[in-house]
């Protein structure tokens, strides 16, 4: 059929021990946005990697414009005008934006770079598709959103017309997601065909024309988005209905657990303070959410709260004791637990076993050591208990090397460790980033359970859905200050978005004026 630009027919791809793609057929129409949906590990990235030439399928064929093609490496893909934005950006941090865009297809004379023409082309493209970038900025200095625009420009620069986006929205702020959606629409209108992987159903509903669902490596089906709904999609994906509402009991907040007074934290990136004097309280039995666009001081505040960075002034009190100057370990002992945003960097020692990771905070406790000697038997028993309670799935139980576990299970291990400490205060930063909705449901319910048992929770999230669903109180941070305080039931996503974008004050003042 002429209609399809790309046909992936009966693709099967195995890795040792697992069939990542099992007889999958996917057809992409010209000019459509085609969503790909599936749980973590369902095989979406694998399928796309096959299309992009990173993996070779064990069987199956790929057709471009009806003709069978062989794609054995990214160069082949590029020759067929197929481009890909990877789940984890593939950008060289110390290169400039321009260098990153031209890498691999450098304009040159006798091997010497001729960047001038490249620059002109990039500038023209970025204007045409309103993808604003700074060609000479280093990638490490630009925002995640701009990095994504660089990735898109990389494809456009290569004149690709089949564009693969692997979980592009997982790392973006709501505003950036909006922008991306409109860019994608623009590209599709230009006649480019887009494959779009996401875990977020509302994004699919908003932007996609059709959606293919995978589950455990198998094709479940392809549906027209206009003729389906979130519930149906999620059922196809997980195999059971998913509740989108987080169930919470009504409880009256108790005593103050965390008291933050005028905390100021210097920034590592620039001379200004990252956190410019914030004050708030978190009480027993409530989930307080710090919402805000990335880079507005939330991370720095959490660093100061947990003791990783020093604050320059202010006071933090935990259950009545001043911890402003306490060490990380002291704070942990006094009852702070926290789930870091980057689980690989901060959450786990990937080369340790699961058991060793599960006692990363507790190995000094009497139960696990005697006279400085670790009691490995107790450590294993403890790990086994957590594995059972929190349903952490891994190959060899306590002895699994953490590196070999899937992202979702790694996250569960961290949660298990932190919640099992029975902390006075649980600090969770982006706890569900990149996870599928099944896993998210699970994690949300664990967090809520913690609150229901009368503990305090401080949640930092960029996802407005999560913010609205889970929290009892919302504090929006903007440029290092708290721009406003809301109750989820009395506000809207739109209002929050405005405050996060810094328009809150204006909105309020015009509102007062009118």
């Amino acid at each position: 059929m002429e209609e399809y630009v790309i046909e992936m027919l009966n693709i099967t791809k195995s890795f040792p021990g697992i069939k990542a793609n099992d007889d999958i057929t996917l057809r992409l129409k010209k000019g459509e946005i085609h969503a790909l949906l599936g749980e973590n590990g369902a095989g979406k990235s694998t399928l796309m990697s096959v299309l992009f030439g990173l993996y070779q399928p064990d069987s199956g064929t790929i057709k471009k414009d009806g003709k069978p093609v062989k794609i054995s490496n990214p160069n082949d893909a590029n020759d067929l005008n197929i481009g890909m934005v990877h789940q984890h950006f593939k950008l060289v941090e110390v290169f400039t934006v321009l260098d990153n865009i031209i890498l691999g297809v450098e304009p040159n004379k006798f091997g010497f770079l001729t960047k001038k023409e490249a620059r002109e082309k990039v500038v023209a493209l970025s204007q045409k598709y309103s993808l604003s970038v700074e060609p000479d900025a280093l990638v490490e200095d630009i925002s995640v959103g701009m990095q994504q625009r660089v990735e898109i420009l990389k494809m456009l620069y290569r004149d690709n017309d089949i564009l693969i986006f692997d979980e592009p929205t997982a790392v973006l702020t709501p505003q950036e997601i909006k922008e991306l959606m409109s860019i994608m629409r623009g590209l599709a209108a230009e006649g480019k065909s887009i494959l779009f992987i996401t875990h977020k159903l509302n994004e699919i509903m908003e932007v996609a024309d059709r959606c293919t669902v995978l589950r455990k490596g198998k094709l479940i089906g392809t549906v027209e988005v206009a003729q389906t709904n979130r519930e149906e999609l999620s059922k196809m994906m997980v195999g059971r209905p998913i509740s989108f509402e987080v169930e919470k009991q009504d409880i009256e907040p108790g005593k103050t657990v965390l008291k933050v007074e005028n905390v100021v934290v210097p920034s590592k990136l620039h001379k200004n303070n990252a956190v410019k004097g914030i004050s708030f309280e978190v009480r027993e039995g409530e989930i307080v959410c710090l919402a805000g666009i990335e880079g507005n001081g939330q991370s720095e505040f959490v660093y100061a709260l947990t003791g990783i960075e020093k604050m320059s002034s202010g006071k933090i009190t935990l259950c009545g004791s001043d911890i402003s100057k306490a060490s990380i370990r002291k704070r942990s002992l006094l009852g702070i637990s926290h789930i870091p945003e980057d689980r690989h960097k901060y959450g786990l020692v990937l080369d340790f076993s699961l058991a060793e990771n599960l006692v990363l905070q507790h190995y000094r406790e009497k139960l696990f050591q005697r006279f400085g000697f670790i009691r490995f038997k107790e450590v294993r028993n403890y790990a086994r208990r957590l594995i059972e309670i929190y349903d952490i799935r891994s190959g060899q139980g306590p002895d699994t090397i953490a590196r070999s576990m899937s992202g979702g299970n790694q996250q569960k291990a961290i949660l298990a460790r932190e919640i099992d400490k029975n902390p006075q205060l649980l600090v969770a930063i982006q706890p569900t980033r990149g996870l599928d909705i099944g896993a998210i449901e699970n994690i949300h319910s664990l967090i809520v359970k913690q609150r229901d048992s009368g503990k305090a929770v401080l949640l930092v999230s960029l996802e407005l859905d999560e913010v609205m669903n889970v929290s009892d109180r919302i504090l929006v941070m903007y440029e290092g200050k708290i721009a406003g305080e809301f109750e989820p039931s009395k506000t809207t996503v739109e209002e929050l978005g405005l405050y996060m974008a810094g328009a809150g004050d204006k909105a309020r003042s015009t509102g007062q004026g009118g």
């Binding site: 040792p16 697992i18 942990s332 990363l360 670790i374 891994s394 139980g397 590196r403």
Partner: protein, 384 residues
């Protein structure tokens, strides 16, 4: 549970086997080399390499004598490896350790165990400074260790040149370029033999190998059994996560280098307090510290395996000496480097074997990476 144990057992077996295969290939290569040089005498040469080390009690003594400092410098390098650091400064730590030991023994007239403690202290200082530079200023420990090797070399020379009482000529010798003969200066500073020298009929024999083994065992226990070792390894594998977990990573980095320094320092002490050698004013870095690197690599940084790898290397070195004058003893170094090279490659083979075996068994995901520093080989060995 049994299955798991079986598997773990298999893993350490695999790592042992991979080393063994490397060694065998290395020796075969060595034999071919001998054949190339002198086909008539090649058989004699390889016999010497293989058996000279046990040909007489005195040769056994020599093997152990050379192995003792190698165990310690190997431990030094390996300990740092385990905690994510590359201590290329064992040479400097070794020299400073020797200097402290000799000063304490000769000038301060202390018994050997005091001198040995001083050696440890000297090495510790020479490890601490690069450790601090790394912890406080984030200066690459490889470059600081290299600098401290040379600073150590010259500092020791300077110190000896300005400490007349430590030099041989103060005790009657005509030689102002080496430290005093311990027998002449202070016999109490010589490591005791407990009659072993009589037993093996060799002046090289004393209890230094026993000390080295004891220290290796302690290092093993510290690394794999204690909270301290747990912290050190955690920092080595993932500094950020360790900091998040409340571990003082800076302190641990400095401590780890200090301990590595201690170990290399004891190595210097153990060699120069043997009563056989005198420290000579040197212009080039002593190779003993660098030899710790292959020892540690062959042992895959496991302290217990270090004992064996050091003994093995010393063993074939003794064999190499016995090949003279027919063959150059440097052929042994060629063999050792081939073995190290192969073991780098065979670690991969080992990883592959275990992964495959495990895949079949559990049909489940497996360790993603198999590097030289598989963190818990050793621990699992002990528990299974």
């Amino acid at each position: 549970m049994k299955k798991v144990r079986e598997f773990l057992g298999r893993r350490s077996v695999a790592s042992f086997l991979s080393s063994l295969i490397s060694i065998i290939i290395g020796l075969v290569f060595g034999y071919l080399l001998l054949l190339a040089f002198d086909s008539e005498k090649a058989l004699f040469g390889i016999k010497q390499i293989l058996f000279a080390g046990v040909s007489s009690p005195a040769k056994i003594a020599k093997v152990l004598y050379q192995a003792a400092p190698l165990v310690l410098t190997g431990l030094s390098v390996g300990f740092a490896f385990k905690t994510g650091l590359f201590n290329i400064g064992a040479s400097g730590q070794y020299m400073v350790g020797a200097c402290f030991a000799l000063y304490t023994g000769i000038v301060l007239r202390q018994p050997w165990y005091v001198a040995m403690t001083a050696a440890m202290l000297g090495g510790a200082i020479w490890g601490l400074i690069p450790g601090l530079c790394k912890a406080l200023f984030n200066v690459n420990e490889v470059i600081t260790s290299i600098m401290f090797n040379w600073i150590g070399l010259f500092a020791v020379n300077l110190f000896f040149s300005n400490t007349p009482k430590i030099l041989a000529n103060y005790y009657g010798s005509a030689n102002a370029n080496r430290t005093a003969n311990l027998a002449a200066a202070n016999a109490r500073a010589i490591i005791p033999t407990l009659g072993l020298d009589k037993l093996l009929k060799s002046p090289f024999m004393n209890i230094s190998i026993l000390i080295a083994v004891a220290i290796a065992v302690v290092a093993f226990i510290v690394l794999n059994r204690t909270t301290f070792g747990y912290e050190l390894k955690a920092c080595g594998f993932n500094k950020n996560a360790s900091i998040y977990a409340g571990i003082n990573a800076k302190r641990n980095t400095a401590l780890s280098m200090t301990i590595a320094g201690c170990l290399a320092g004891i190595g210097g002490g153990i060699y120069y307090l043997s009563g056989t050698v005198q420290y000579t004013i040197e212009k080039v870095l002593l190779s003993m510290g660098f030899n710790g690197i292959p020892v540690a690599l062959l042992a895959q940084s496991n302290p217990i395996a270090t004992i064996f790898s050091a003994t093995f290397i010393s063993y074939i070195q003794v064999g190499g000496d016995a090949m003279q004058p027919e063959f150059a003893k440097e052929i042994i170094d060629i063999i050792i480097s081939v073995i190290i090279y192969l073991s780098a490659v065979s670690l991969l083979v080992k990883g592959l074997i275990t992964r495959l075996a495990e895949r079949k068994k559990e049909a489940a995901p497996s360790p993603g990476q198999d590097t030289a520093q598989t963190p818990d080989d050793s621990k699992q060995e002990a528990t299974s």
